[in-house]
Structures are given as structure tokens and as C-alpha cells.
Amino acid sequence: MAGRPRRADGRGTPRRADQALMTDTLKPNNAAQVLEAVKWAAAEGNALEVVGRGSKRGFGRAVAPRLGLDLSGLSGIGGYEPSELFMTAFTATPMAEIEAALRQNNQQMAFEPADLGPLFGGDEDEGTIGGAIACNLAGPRRIKVGAARDHFLGFSAVSGRGEVFKSGGTVVKNVTGFDLSKLIAGSFGTLAVMTEVTFKVLPAPEKTRTVLILGLDDAAAAMTMARALGSAHDVSSAAHLPTVAARRSRVSYVAGAGRAVTAMRVEGPGPSVEHRCRALKALLKGKGDIEELHSENSRTLWREIRDAALLGAAAGDPKARQVWRLSVPPMAGPGAAEALARELAGEAFYDWGGGLVWLAIAARPDAGHETVRAAVAAAGGHATLVRAADAVRARVPVFEPQAARLAALTARVKEAFDPNGVLNPGRMYEGV
């Protein structure tokens, strides 16, 4: 029998001034202790806040303070077979540790999960693999390779019922039973506490270049990105930075352009990248001035885009702007974003060929949610209030409100995993 989970003093979990404190914390060191803790919570009907290393505690609805389940003791890479293209790790293994191990083998997590820590006022590289999966994070390569959900092969977990269960495996091709990995990815810890996860890893590209087109307005940029993404040149990411956003980049070519910058990333074997960049430039000739970024600059720019670092929404400032994330059909992005930026005194930039809109607005008590939701409903898609003060996130629906029948189904799914509502209740939807 494993030792008892120890009670932590809370210092191991980063806390932000504007976040509700956990009333106390349990810090299990292994899966058996997680099971013990959840069993107890389920029996007592005691809600838990499930936390990895706490870098994204501000992501989701704000709820009353509750007992913390700090998983940071479940850390470390369990199995990594580069030629099998998978890695197994304990749930709170730092992303930085995983990325370092992958780099040594010239591999990567192709879905390049965003590092949202800084957006919530923390440091870089504080996130964990479990957190990335629980939030179903993705990066600019989402349009080509998918999100965390697409790379999450299997897991062991403790359900809210206080039972250990697993799903999936270590192989990519697997249709044995329901694909619970998909359900757990993006469930924000409301269904089960993952203890160990297995995810796909892939070779890092030999070469990366980024083609920039300068001076396009948002609508023209969306058309241009559609043209590039609809070509055979295998563009892996396409983003558009209006002038203000571009100016914030640490890449001098981008910041110094003095105009909007539309960026398209080309990755792969060396000769192929050179060929495709040439072809892409020929395809886009006449649309605007064209530049090309090579390795280091390219890496920096896509990291800034990935982490929404170009929004001018530095955290820590009490008047910090509120941040929305909209997922819409790519061609609908500019229309929705321009209208919202105008109405809510904000600014936006685009990833995913126009389909992902990062929107920062002047802070307001309702976060402009009705306006945002109306725009998203018209475009088709969903919006998430990624950052706002606790008081706002307690009042305003953070995730896209669901039609009644979908909400009822969501509640039944929650009940199937966590009937007593002890795992992060209310983090996504009230009563879920």
C-alpha cells in the first residue's frame, strides 16, 4: 500500500493575487493516493480543485474556493520510444521536461500546445502535459495536425466515482471501444483525474521557413491564407497580424514592417521547403510585398502567435484587458473580429488561416459576452473567455453556452463519470 498523501502547505502551487485561494491542498504522490483522495471526496461529497502545477488556474469559470488536489507529485517521463512515436508520462510532468527529452531525439509534440502561463500572469514553461491535454491546447499547426485531442493516445485515470480506469493505448491506430481520450481532452478535469498519459510524438521538421506578406487588410489576408492553404504547398500554419499586433513582435522584420503582416509557415525536408517557399511566393505574387523568415526568427514568431503574446494584453496590470478566443470558419474570422474590436474597444489577431481569433478588449464587467456570442453565432463556431478577473468569470459564461438538449447531454456525461460532482465542478458549466 502506498503511503498516505501528504497535506501540502500550498507553497508548491503558484497563486495569483486575483485568484481565489484553495482552502487547503492534498498532494498525492502516486496514482494510489489519488484514488484514495478522490474516493474520500466522492464519499463525502467534497468538491476538489484538480491542479497540475497551477499555471492555468485562471482558465475556466471562477468557483468558490475548495479543497485542492495538487498533482505535481505525479511527475516524470515513464516511457519514451522514439521509433514508436509515443511518450508516456505522469500527468504533471512539466512540458519543459518533455520538450527537452523530445529535442534530444529530434522529435516534437506536433500539436505545439500553447504556453498560456504568461497570459495568466505566470512565468513561461510552467505548464504540464496533463494541463495541456485537459485544456485541449493546440498551436498554429492545429489546421494541419490537430490539437491535443488528436495526439492523446491513452491514459490512466481516477473517475469522480473513485474508480481507476484506463482507455486507449500506445498505438496510433486503435478503435477498441469508445474513444474516451477525446472526451477527457478538453474536459478541464471535470470528468476524471488523469494520473498517466500517453501521447503521440513526431519527427521535428528538418527545416522551417515563413513567408510573410505585408500590408493586407484582414479580409484580404483571409482570402490569401485560404489560397495558400488550399494549394499543394503544404502550408502548416497561417496567421495574420494587423499592424498593432505585428509591431509587438520580437522579430524585427515583423515589428519593423510598419504594416499588417500575414505569415505562412512551410516545414519539412530542406529541398522541399525551399521549393515550396518559391512556389508559394509565386502563387502570392502581386498581393503585397513579400519577405521570408528563416529558422530562429520563424520559431520566435510562431511561438508568439501560439501563446497569444502579440495581443498587448500583459497580465498583472489591474486594468489588464480581457481576452477572448474565437473558433470560427476561417473565412468568417475577419468579419466577426473587426466588428467585435470596434464595438468592444479591442484588437484582434488571427491564427488557423483566420479561423482562430484572439481578441483583447477593454475590461468590462460583462466582458461583452452577449456581443461576442452573437457574433460567433452568426459566424458559426464558439468563443471562450480565456482571461478575465474572477468576479467576471463567476458571472459570465466562460465556455460557449449550449443549446438545451446538448446541455442536458453534457450533464449526463458528467454524471456518468462524476455523479457526486466532486471534480472541478462548475469549472466549465454551472452544475457540471
Binding site: 474508480e163 469508445f178 470558419p329 458559426g380 447531454l409 456525461v413
Partner: protein, 495 residues
């Protein structure tokens, strides 16, 4: 195969059910004549047959909703069916269930090139989607070998793969949205032309749910631009080991081919005798490696793969010099199943996935089992992702042979799980692998999956007897046995 005991009460009410269905689906959409029902007596897993209570072929979501509402109210079971090409018996009829065919949902509703997606009804064939967009250079990437006949709704239900899924993903990675009808008749829309869900990823859960959670009535898939060019290498090896090593070395070198297929000696010979693709007959293992992309990339990678093949002991190397030649390379592989059908009256096709480095080990085991069971076996597989398709040859007319072949197949799948793999890579569990689920999952694992089923279908009326070996009542599954006062942390204050 033990199926749930048919409900005599439902069967007795057949005439009444037919009448109710005719009120919902007018015309010829309700099939009750036993001769006509025979066309629906099995899917692609032809070892199992049976007549459904009746077949209903609705044409609109509203009709599907009305049918399910009726069935929920009257405790009538439903077996959803797409094109009936599934290989695991997912659409096997039940004597007391309506087979709900989606064949009449056969229209492409929208093609949106700018947003790179197609909205289609579930009965549209996989290939028809590609055909509808190829004039603009696009295609739909997942390409199960039955793509000419299988339907996109069935692909979603089974999370179908295909030769190209190593590089381009399975169905689940290529579906953007769904409309589905729940067993209570409620219509739910998930996703759309945008990416990812706002709430739980129910789209991801529906994909591969084998008709147990909802009836899919509309699908939105993403489409891709066709690669500029594709070339293939045909590589022969003196042993399964060296072939397997080559596969691992290609992946290890950071190359993800568009397709990477392997065949063993019996499969090579059967195919060559059938389609005369020019395969070498003096090798133990044959590998087809296809590289696609811009010409500069393909030429570069062909060189690299060729050199890896030499290093890993290839005794035969041929590179396609034209698209026609590439097609010829593939013709043998693509016809491997019918080719095997020519040398044996019947065969069972298995579908395990294993870690790539266990390839040779598993092939040796299959060889040993083949001798023990006295049945021949030919192996073709998607080597890039470790998905095996051993074909077990038998004669259904000989007593006991089907039984022996099934036991042989079960032993293969058990071994796949033992070496770290899974029971099924792309064909689904259906009825075929249902009773092997316990090899991979604990009782608690399975119960948690069934609780998800209960969230969608509390009466368990949708496709019962498939995928899960034991039926539990949802009320029983939901019950929690709680022991209060068992506080594991005496030092934690209770609130």
C-alpha cells in the same frame, strides 16, 4: 456468438410496428417482406447472419427523429446501418430490432473550398466526396479500401482508417462536425466548419462509437489539396525481420511516408498470381513505401528510403518511374483480399495493432499458431502504424473449420494485446471482437465506457449486443457504493 435474447413481445408486435413506421416513412422506405430483408442479413462480416425485424430507410432527419422517438417509447431496438461494408458485424441485424438504413441520405449538401470542407449526408460514399472536389485539386484523405462503397456515416461510426492514415490521420482527425439523433429522438449538432468544441468533445466520442450512441444524419469533413506528386518504392526482403527493421528505420529517420504497406510471402504469391503486378516471388516480405508531396521532396525522400532499405538488407528495390507504374505497385496490395479469396473458399480478416518493433515477433507467433491450428494464413498490414491484417484461410463447408479459424484469430489478437497492442486498429469491435474486450480492459474500464453509453441511450436500445460483452442495466451501472466516514487523511480538516 451469443446475442441478446430476442424480445418475443416486440416480435409479436411486428405488424403494429410496421404500420407505425409506414406512417413516418411513406412509400417503399419500410421493408417487411422476408425475401427483401435478406439483402440486409449481414454486413461485411459474412460469417454471421440473421434477419432483422424490419428495415426502415428514412430520408430526412425529421423521420429519423420520429422513428427513434417511437422506438424509445415502445422499447424497440435499433441497429443503424450505413453501406453494410463493415468488417466486424456492427450492422449485424437482431431479430427484434429495426435495421435503420441511412442509404437514402445520399446527397452532398455543400462544398466550401474557401473553408476547405464538405458537408454531406451520411450515406454518401467515401469516394464520392473526393470525386465531388477533385476538379479543384482537393480530396478527402481517409481512404479505407472499401471507399468505393462504404459511406461517410459508416466511416464516422467506425473511425475508419486506410492506407494514407499514417500521414493524414484517421476519420476522427478529419471530421469537423456532425448532426446526430439520440435514441430519444432529440437532434444534436456538434462542431461545424470551425475547429474543436466549446464543451466536451462529443464529436470525438461519436467517432468510432459503432452505432451505439446516436444515429448520424449529417457529416462535415475537411478536405485537403492533393499532393503535387507521389512515387512508390517496392522493396523485397529476405526475412520478416529485415522488412520490419526497415519500417522502424524509416520512421526512426523522421520520415512519415504517405503509405507504408507490408505483405508476407503467402500474400505476395496470392496477389501476384491474381493481378501480375510484377512482385518478386523469391522474397519473404515485400514493402510498398509511398512518398507524396512536391517533386523536390519526393525525389529527396525516395533517395533516403532507398538507402535505408539497402542498409536494412533489402534484396529487391524498384522505384516507380511513372504514375502508371506506381498504380501497378499498389494493384497487388489493393487486391490482396480478393486474391486470397481465390486460393481459399473463405477467410477471416483480423485487425490488431502492435508496436512496430514487435512486427517480426508477432509474425513468428502467427506462423507457429498457423501450424498448431492447421490453417494457412496470409499477412498484409499497414506497417507504418503497426496495423496487422492476418487473413486466416479456411473452408466454411468443413465442420469445425470456422470455429478453429475464430479461435486462431482470437489467439492472434490476444498476442497483439500481450505485446502492447490493441484488438482492433480500424475495423471495429462489433460482434467479432466483442468477447475479447476483457483481454484489453478491466471490468471497471468497461463499466466506465458503458456509463458513457447510458448517458446517450439509457434504455440501451441502440445496437445492443455489439462492442461490449456484458450488458448491465444503466441504473445498476450508475449506483455508487459509498462508505462514509472513511477518511484517509486524518490531518485534513473536514468542512
Amino acid at each position: 456468438m451469443r446475442m441478446p435474447e430476442p424480445d418475443a413481445g416486440v416480435i409479436a408486435r411486428r405488424a403494429e410496428i410496421v404500420e407505425a413506421m409506414r406512417a413516418i416513412v411513406p412509400g417503399e422506405g419500410v421493408i417487411a417482406d422476408s425475401d427483401e430483408l435478406k439483402a440486409y442479413d449481414c454486413d461485411g462480416l459474412m460469417a454471421y447472419k440473421g434477419l432483422p425485424l424490419i428495415v426502415v430507410l428514412p430520408e430526412t432527419t425529421r423521420q429519423v427523429s420520429a422513428i427513434l422517438k417511437y422506438c424509445a417509447a415502445h422499447q424497440v431496438k435499433i441497429v443503424p446501418r450505413g453501406a453494410g461494408t463493415g468488417l466486424s458485424g456492427g450492422a449485424l441485424p437482431l431479430a427484434d430490432a429495426i435495421t435503420l438504413g441511412l442509404a437514402k441520405f445520399n446527397r452532398i449538401l455543400e462544398i466550401d473550398f474557401d473553408n476547405r470542407c464538405v458537408v454531406a449526408q451520411p450515406g454518401v460514399t467515401n469516394l464520392a466526396i473526393t470525386k465531388a472536389v477533385e476538379h479543384a485539386g482537393f480530396y478527402y484523405a481517409p481512404d479505407p479500401s472499401s471507399q468505393i462503397a462504404c459511406s461517410i456515416g459508416g466511416n464516422v461510426a467506425e473511425n475508419s482508417g486506410g492506407v494514407h492514415c499514417l500521414k493524414y490521420g484517421l476519420t476522427t482527425n478529419n471530421v469537423l462536425g456532425l448532426e446526430m439523433v439520440l435514441m430519444d429522438g432529440e437532434v444534436v449538432r456538434l462542431g461545424g466548419k470551425h475547429l474543436d468544441a466549446g464543451g466536451y468533445d462529443l464529436l470525438g466520442v461519436l467517432t468510432g462509437s459503432e452505432g451505439l450512441l446516436g444515429v448520424i444524419t449529417e457529416v462535415t469533413v475537411r478536405i485537403l489539396q492533393k499532393p503535387e506528386t507521389a512515387r512508390a518504392l517496392l522493396l523485397g526482403f529476405p526475412s520478416n525481420e529485415s522488412g520490419g527493421n526497415c519500417v522502424a528505420a524509416i520512421i526512426g529517420a523522421g520520415i512519415i511516408p504517405g503509405g507504408m504497406e507490408m505483405m508476407d510471402k503467402p500474400a505476395i504469391h496470392a496477389s501476384e498470381n491474381f493481378v501480375h503486378a510484377g512482385y518478386p516471388l523469391d522474397v519473404q516480405a515485400l514493402l510498398i513505401v509511398e512518398l507524396d508531396g512536391p517533386e523536390a521532396e519526393v525525389d529527396y525522400l525516395i533517395e533516403r528510403v532507398q538507402s535505408i532499405a539497402r542498409q536494412t538488407g533489402a534484396s529487391y528495390i524498384r522505384i516507380s518511374e511513372s504514375d502508371a507504374e506506381r498504380q501497378v505497385f499498389w494493384s497487388g496490395r489493393k487486391n490482396a483480399f480478393p486474391a486470397v479469396g481465390r486460393i481459399s473458399p473463405d477467410y477471416l480478416c483480423m485487425d490488431g495493432t502492435i508496436p512496430r518493433h514487435k512486427l517480426a515477433d508477432v509474425l513468428n507467433k502467427i506462423g507457429a499458431l498457423s501450424e498448431r491450428y492447421g490453417l494457412r494464413v496470409a499477412n498484409v498490414f499497414h506497417a507504418g502504424d503497426g496495423n496487422l491484417h492476418p487473413l486466416i484461410l479456411f473452408d466454411a463447408n468443413k465442420p469445425e473449420e470456422l470455429d478453429r479459424a475464430e479461435k486462431f484469430g482470437a489467439d492472434i489478437l490476444r498476442y497483439c494485446v500481450e505485446v502492447g497492442g490493441v484488438l482492433t486498429g480500424e475495423h471495429g469491435v462489433g460482434v467479432e471482437k466483442r468477447d475479447l474486450m476483457g483481454e484489453m480492459f478491466t471490468e471497471d474500464d468497461l463499466k466506465q465506457q458503458l456509463r458513457l453509453k447510458c448517458a446517450f441511450d439509457p434504455g440501451q436500445l441502440m445496437n445492443p449486443g455489439k462492442v461490449y460483452p456484458t450488458l448491465h442495466r444503466c441504473a445498476e451501472l450508475g449506483r455508487m457504493y459509498v462508505h462514509h466516514g472513511k477518511l484517509p487523511f486524518p490531518d485534513i480538516p473536514r468542512f
